[in-house]
Symmetry: C2
Subunit: 339 residues, 2 copies
């Protein structure tokens, strides 16, 4: 049976949300896997005690230290060896568990995953992607979104290759399409490293490792031209954070407009409330972090991270994601492709 380690201490609403998500996953799946909840006993047990867990495939393990959002990634790994983060990943490394799931400090989890689990043979640099909404069905993934700045062409190609495997086998996307984010569509556009990446992506396409659709531009992201948007971590991180700021920005403009219409008697308050709600709902696709997490691709093990404000549903979905990645042998397939 699979054992998934869940970090009880990770996230703004930990441990409550984490406990809830964990129990939901076990109940909903009918104990399809075992969960090893790890964290500070004094913090977690009050929440566990609120539930009847006797019939669940659940174990608890104490870890006295906690890596917080304020911890500096590189030092946290070294100074907090007894944290749920480091201990949890070590259980995976030692083969005592199959995956690690957390909604904690992303940078620290990335650093610790690399340090404890290492890289899949052949992987130059592990990466992290993000979800983006798109016109029509499905979601778009942007890779890299901040783990790697100063990417070499070979890095970008590997990101596309790894994410293609992930989408194909773990996200049920039959034909993942890779676009290279650039300043123009034509081949030969952009800085030298993107020109080289273009050629390497063409090669990977010829070898059937990916489906390369060429250069894409900023406006092609939401249009959904590609399912995989490849770029340097600086570009991806900027687009991601810019995108996250749009709901607040537009909301701060729309609300007073509706209020004006109500005050002037043109719109009745009920209609304003209705359209205000419809407006707010538009941005739910921008909030995909609430509904799940992402794995660190290229790490030799399964380490999935969720947004700090992960809901219990997000925790549950991350647990399923871990199960799915193991069953679909995503890492093994990456190793095979790169060998």
């Amino acid at each position: 049976m699979l054992t998934i380690v869940v970090d009880a201490m990770g996230g703004d609403n930990a441990p409550a949300c984490v406990v809830d998500g964990t129990l939901e996953a076990l109940r909903e799946s009918g104990n399809r896997f075992e969960i090893l909840l790890i964290g500070q006993e004094e913090k977690v047990s009050p929440f566990l005690k609120q539930h009847d867990t006797a019939d669940l495939n659940l174990r608890f393990m104490h870890a006295p230290e906690v890596v917080t959002m304020e911890d500096v990634p590189a030092t946290a790994v070294k100074t907090k060896q007894d944290s749920s983060l480091v201990r949890g990943l070590k259980l995976c490394k030692e083969g005592l568990a199959h995956a690690y799931v957390s909604a904690g400090n992303t940078g620290a989890q990335m650093a610790a995953s690399l340090f404890v689990l290492g890289r899949i043979p052949g992987v130059l640099r592990p990466t992290i992607y993000a979800y983006f909404p798109r016109i029509g069905e499905g979601l778009t993934n942007i890779v890299d979104v901040g783990a790697n700045v100063d990417c070499k062409p070979e890095n970008l190609v590997q990101f596309a290759e790894m994410l293609t495997i992930y989408q194909r086998y773990a996200a049920n996307i039959e034909k993942p399409l890779t676009g290279l984010l650039n300043i123009g569509e034509e081949e030969g556009k952009g800085p030298e490293y993107l020109k080289q990446a273009y050629r390497l992506l063409q090669e990977a396409d010829r070898e059937k490792k990916i489906n390369f659709i060429g250069n894409i531009e900023g406006h092609d992201i939401l249009a959904g031209k590609a399912t995989i948007v490849v770029c340097d971590g600086l570009v991806g991180n900027t687009i991601l954070k810019f995108g996250e700021s749009i709901p607040h920005f537009l909301g701060s403009l729309f609300k007073p407009e509706l209020e004006k219409l109500v005050l002037s008697g043109q719109l009745d308050p009920g209609a304003a409330a209705l359209t205000g709600k419809a407006f707010k709902a538009l941005f739910e696709p921008f909030d995909v972090e609430k509904f799940g997490g992402v794995p660190f691709l290229g790490v030799d093990g399964i380490s999935i991270v969720g947004h700090g404000r992960s809901s219990s549903r997000a925790i549950k979905n991350m647990i399923y994601m871990a199960e799915h990645m193991i069953e679909q042998r995503v890492n093994e397939r990456i190793a095979e492709m790169l060998s």
Copy 2:
């Protein structure tokens, strides 16, 4: 008296819009400057003949060739020497005119401006910026937005210095604030060239050339933290095009939502139309190109380019912008700062 060359052939609605904008500028300003309209006589004169221009400071000059949106920038300059673009810029170079204004092919105008006018002494690379909406008053400028990919730290610093002078003297921003777009706020974040740029920007701040507020992130753009957002052209271009795609994306989601509310009888059609209109109006700030243009900063002369879909109002505003840049000695101030 100042002479401003206006390219009659530039823009999707040329020459009609250009003629209208030109005449408006002359009438509204009371012939404060002279305008030299340049283009193909057979195309422009039918539009000119529709107006009484006898009392206006207007001259027309024939240019047999036209640079189109399809022309490749680098070759257009060489092969279309008799275009309104090249001839117009040459008039500036020869001192027969003081500024050139067009809503034509941006890349070609950049290339031709560099080729014909050259750089202001001390300028490493001329640049082009874009407008972004922000929370609260005013607009934010992002620089560079595609003219320069693969920027060196020194380039980024000069962009900030030039745009600071422009904002201070030609855009009436008392204290322009420069932020360096990066993946994190802390000093020492990001790729090597941004770390170096950070230090050089601090130096420029100490020398009172700019006001540097440090690193900013993607979500700080719309929040309006800085009036000048400095980044590589690849990042700026991507953000710009991504931003331009938002209205269509959200509109395509909001419209069916309103329709659903109407069909289900929850919202009356009048209220839906009203809120739909208010929603659409939200995105006007994203469409600043319609209302003006931007100068190529660092070029040894004044060359202002507008969006292809420039309105007559945009043409008029670009003419005023040219006048303002000349009067405020923007280029001379840039030369002084860099000497």
